[in-house]
């Protein structure tokens, strides 16, 4: 119950983490099934329809439901601490964001047991995703599930923007903010601008499918290429929503374990902003073969290549952070160090793809599959592993085991390169992506076998990680405030895990890497910027949960509103939008409660603070 009503950012972080873990596990199982099917030519392990559902759900789950919440988990756990705040700006909204996200994700996955998962690819290109060619409710689960989950993401993004703008501790100017706070800030800004595009797209597609509109329906004068533009205007920035937080994590972990401040901090900030900006200019590089014409292709080619410049700045800055430092190979740092070459490989293939005439060959082949997995798995997931191992003691008060951590790292990264490196060659040798099987004698067989074995090895790495979590959870929670000993930022100045109010006294920030600065000046902790006083806390509430349940019910109701059911009563309820109405009633009712009932929260008094 505690967990259903919490508005504490640290608990919400843990909720995000478990939800992310759950969906990541589902997406991972889907991936393993896909790879088993492709282990040999003309395999009959899965049928074609199931395979298409699996690739669709694997992609959708991983992008929207697997890594996103883990990113949000880390942001929630760390950002308020890093900027010296007592919570996020809108704790109630924070909870609401989580629950809508979770219920959206559950709705999407219900499709597996409610008559067919979406099967038009995670990009849901029309007309394949229209009712004419995808007649089950699969794509409806996709549009409505993602709509609800996306709402949560948008809420989260806005919340972090507000938090970082308004709640930094005294002295923490923008140019003294830790890099992870910076990337969170920029990521949230991208969310703010990119998510409305997919929201509109999903609404239009829902209308086409459920209400018979003609936005994309060719027969009715709709334009299927329009969907591609809308999707990628969101979809490309989404890639940066994923990778920028990883950049932030790496920029925290490497300085800590090299015992040196981040090399070229201001160029890092500048590069991040530039990447975000360029990220909005390049969506059509996903559409070179759609036939946009040479002018568009040339422009989008060149603008895409330009992203290599700020990205290069970052990579060299990380390397030179370690130059002259004292590098320790702890598990988080292993992941961070493994990130650099792996992500660089994903980056260079990105530049290759940017060259439109070459992309005519790369596009929709396994070369592309290899590229984006290098970026997303080799970049983001390695980054998330680094971050999780790094901040685990802060989140849970327990250090993850170093031994198992190293096993996780080595099996995962070796498995990763085995799986995806060979796929570059598969693509170049003529294997297109999203094929449920392939004819023999095309020289695809051996490389596919290697790839599948690698995927298995990655799975083993995940098992090591799970074992590590399990064993760690049975140890006493006795991590020190600054368990890595070389912590540089504010989160390491308070206990692990932090008390509900985070900072007894808001700290005064006197420079970049505030805690390190105090430590090297011979101080034990931060100088407070205020006397000990009564701390205002928000009240726990069930309303965010209820609102999300309402939206969930409304979504299901809307989806089935045109169906005929075997039972008269059910048909009546759904066809007259009664279920939809009921769901909306719950949501709006909860909103009304929230507005009418004035909750002033509660206070923690100084005596109580000292009593601890």
């Amino acid at each position: 119950m505690d967990w259903l009503t919490t508005v504490d950012h640290k608990k919400i972080a843990i909720l995000y983490l478990w939800a992310g873990g759950l969906f990541f596990g589902i997406g991972g199982l889907e991936a393993i099934l896909i790879r088993i099917q492709l282990i040999k030519p003309m395999n009959t392990f899965l049928d074609a329809q199931t395979f298409n559902e699996l690739i669709t759900m694997h992609g959708t789950t991983m992008i929207f439901l697997g890594v996103m919440p883990v990113i949000f988990a880390l942001m929630n756990a760390v950002i308020p601490l890093q900027i010296g705040a007592r919570d996020v700006a809108f704790p109630f909204l924070n909870a609401l964001g989580f629950w809508t996200f979770l219920f959206g994700g559950i709705l999407l996955n219900l499709s597996w047991i409610m008559g067919g998962a979406p099967d038009a690819g995670w990009t849901s290109y029309t007309p394949l995703s229209t009712t004419t060619y995808s007649a089950t409710h699969g794509v409806d689960f996709y549009t409505i599930g993602l709509q609800i989950a996306g709402l949560g993401t948008l809420i989260g993004g806005i919340n972090f923007l507000a938090t970082i703008i308004t709640m930094r501790a005294p002295g923490m100017s923008y140019m003294r903010m830790p890099m992870f706070a910076w990337t969170t800030f920029i990521t949230s800004a991208i969310i703010l601008f990119a998510f409305p595009a997919i929201t509109v797209g999903l609404v239009l597609l829902t209308f086409d499918r459920i209400l018979g509109a003609n936005f994309f329906e060719v027969g009715g004068g709709g334009n299927p290429v329009l969907w591609q533009h809308i999707f990628w205007i969101f979809g490309h920035p989404e890639v940066y929503i994923l990778i920028l937080p990883a950049f932030g994590i790496i920029s925290e972990v490497i300085p800590t374990f090299a015992r040196k401040r981040l090399f070229g901090y201001s160029s890092m900030v500048f590069a991040t902003i530039l990447i975000a900006f360029l990220g909005f200019m390049v969506w059509a590089h996903h559409m070179f073969t759609t036939g946009l014409g040479p002018v568009a292709n040339a422009l989008f080619s060149v603008s895409t290549m330009l992203i290599a410049v700020p990205t290069g700045i970052k990579i060299f800055n990380w390397l030179f952070t370690m130059w002259g430092g004292q590098v320790r190979f702890t598990t988080p740092n292993l992941f961070a160090v493994g990130f650099i070459p792996t992500f660089t490989m994903g980056g260079v293939t990105g530049v290759m793809l940017a060259s439109a005439p070459a992309d005519f060959q790369f596009h929709d082949t396994y070369f592309v599959v290899a590229h984006f997995h290098y970026v997303i798995v080799g970049g983001l997931v390695l980054g998330l592993f680094a971050g999780l191992h790094y901040w685990w003691p802060k989140m849970f008060g327990r250090m993850l085991g170093e031994g198992l951590g190293k096993w996780t790292f080595w099996t995962f990264i070796i498995g990763f390169h085995m799986t995806f490196f060979v796929q570059h060659f598969l693509g170049l040798m003529g294997m297109q992506r999203r094929v449920f099987t392939y004819l023999p004698n095309q020289q695809f067989d051996l490389l596919n076998l290697i790839s599948t074995i690698g995927a298995g090895l990655m799975g083993v790495g995940m098992l090591f990680f799970l074992a590590n979590i399990f064993l760690t959870s049975r140890k006493p929670a006795d991590a020190a405030n600054d368990p890595w000993e070389d912590g540089r930022t504010l989160e390491w100045t308070i206990p692990s895990p932090p008390p509900e109010y985070n900072f007894k006294q808001t700290p005064l920030v006197r420079g970049i890497d505030a805690f390190w600065k105090e430590k090297t000046a011979g101080h034990k902790g931060m100088t407070p910027s205020e006397p000990v006083g009564s701390i205002h806390m928000p009240s726990a509430t069930i309303l965010p949960f209820l609102m999300s349940v309402g939206i969930f019910i409304a979504g299901l109701g809307f989806m089935f509103s045109r169906d005929t059911f075997s039972s008269e009563a059910l048909s009546f309820l759904f066809n007259n939008y009664i279920v939809t109405g009921l769901g909306l009633l719950i949501t709006f009712g909860s909103m009304l409660m929230r507005s009418l009932y004035d909750d002033h929260g509660w206070h923690i008094e100084p005596e109580e603070l000292e009593g601890r």
Binding site: Y125, V348, P357, Q361, M429, F436, N441
Partner: protein, 348 residues
């Protein structure tokens, strides 16, 4: 401009070596890395340049990383705190400018090639014009200047430019012959694409659909047959000659009533499904059952036709052809009879 060209030139030896290594990868009739025509070659040249630049970048990053990680490990006796360096303006400018130069080196030939690839030969008198239509899950090729329609096997004269007009009858597909040219989507009316390629060497090339289009997307393959001018003319002539129907009148009747309501042979039937004229001379049945009497790459055409006609869904899940036995009411004998007739229906 001068400078980029010089940088490009310096990369040439590596590009050449790389080309040689990569050319060992994959089948000649299928691999992007073994281009068999000018369009694929132009893509391949860019790829070689890009890969070369990228390998240089990777080598630099990898060696700095390796050096740093070995040289600056923390040693047990180290207690003093390393110097906290803020950054280095000159270095940072250096690694902003170098990537920028590399990008320019790649961008210039890219832009040039983009505009060259836009050259579609649609009003070239000497080009052969072919209208390609993607269907779930087969390919239709219409030679508009000759009034000939065929399916699955695209027959073209070697060395001639082929001007394509691509469209789809249902969902999006993507027309791709890796060893001859990059891919291009087939969009519905209103956003029709044009492009062109040529195949200087006679031979058979494997083509694929590269855009997810439903369950059998992976099976939506086709062949490009590049033949001599004389052979091409002859092929056109025999495609236009009147239909040859089964000799056995009963089989002929069945074939007409059951199959010709969707298929066409010569001047008979309607080509709603794949045109079957001269199917005995094709490289494959349904695009994926390869015809090969030696049995190495597939099976003899008669076997393939029987496989298909006895279970079209089993061969290509989700395809739109009715089951001859269950839906069209043919007996096994009739089906085998039709298969024999089709296998023998060759073009001379």
């Amino acid at each position: 401009m001068m400078k980029t060209w010089q940088a490009g030139k310096r990369l040439l030896p590596m590009t050449a070596t790389l080309g040689l290594i990569l050319a060992g990868c994959g089948r000649e009739d299928l691999s992007v890395l073994r281009p068999q025509g000018p369009a694929a070659e132009s893509s391949f040249d860019l790829m070689k340049l890009a890969i070369t630049i990228m390998i240089v970048v990777l080598l630099i990053v990898f060696s700095i990383a390796a050096y740093v990680l070995i040289r600056f490990r923390r040693k047990p006796e180290q207690r003093e705190i390393p110097e906290q360096v803020e950054g280095n303006f000159k270095l940072e400018v250096l690694w902003t400018v170098i990537p920028l130069i590399l990008v320019v080196v790649l961008a210039v030939p890219t832009v040039r090639a983009v505009f060259a690839a836009g050259n579609d030969h649609s009003d070239d008198k000497n080009a052969i014009k072919v209208k390609v239509t993607g269907h779930q899950y087969w390919w239709e090729f219409e030679y508009t200047d000759y009034g000939v329609k065929t399916a699955q096997d695209l027959v073209i004269p070697a060395g001639k430019d082929i001007a394509f007009e691509l469209s789809t009858a249902d969902v999006l597909h993507s027309f791709w012959v890796p060893s001859l040219a990059g891919k291009m989507d087939t969009n519905p009316d209103g956003t029709i694409n044009r492009f062109s390629f040529s195949a200087p060497n006679e031979g058979v090339y494997r083509g694929k659909c590269a855009e997810l289009c439903g369950p059998s997307h992976g099976f939506m393959e086709f062949k490009v047959k590049s033949v001599s001018d004389a052979e091409f003319e002859q092929w056109l002539a025999s495609m236009k000659s009147p239909a040859v129907l089964p000799e056995d009148p009963e089989i002929a009747a069945k074939f007409k009533s059951a199959c010709l309501q969707c298929h066409a042979v010569g001047d008979q039937g309607i080509a709603m499904g794949p045109d079957l004229t001269g199917i005995g001379s094709r490289e494959s049945v349904a695009g994926i059952l390869l015809n090969d009497d030696t049995g190495v790459d597939g099976a003899p055409i008669l076997d393939n036709l029987k496989t298909w006609l006895h279970d079209p869904q089993g061969v290509k899940p989700g395809n739109k052809m009715p089951d001859p036995k269950k839906d069209l009411g043919l007996t096994d004998e009739e089906i085998d009879g039709i298969a024999e007739y089709l296998a023998g229906y060759t073009l001379d």
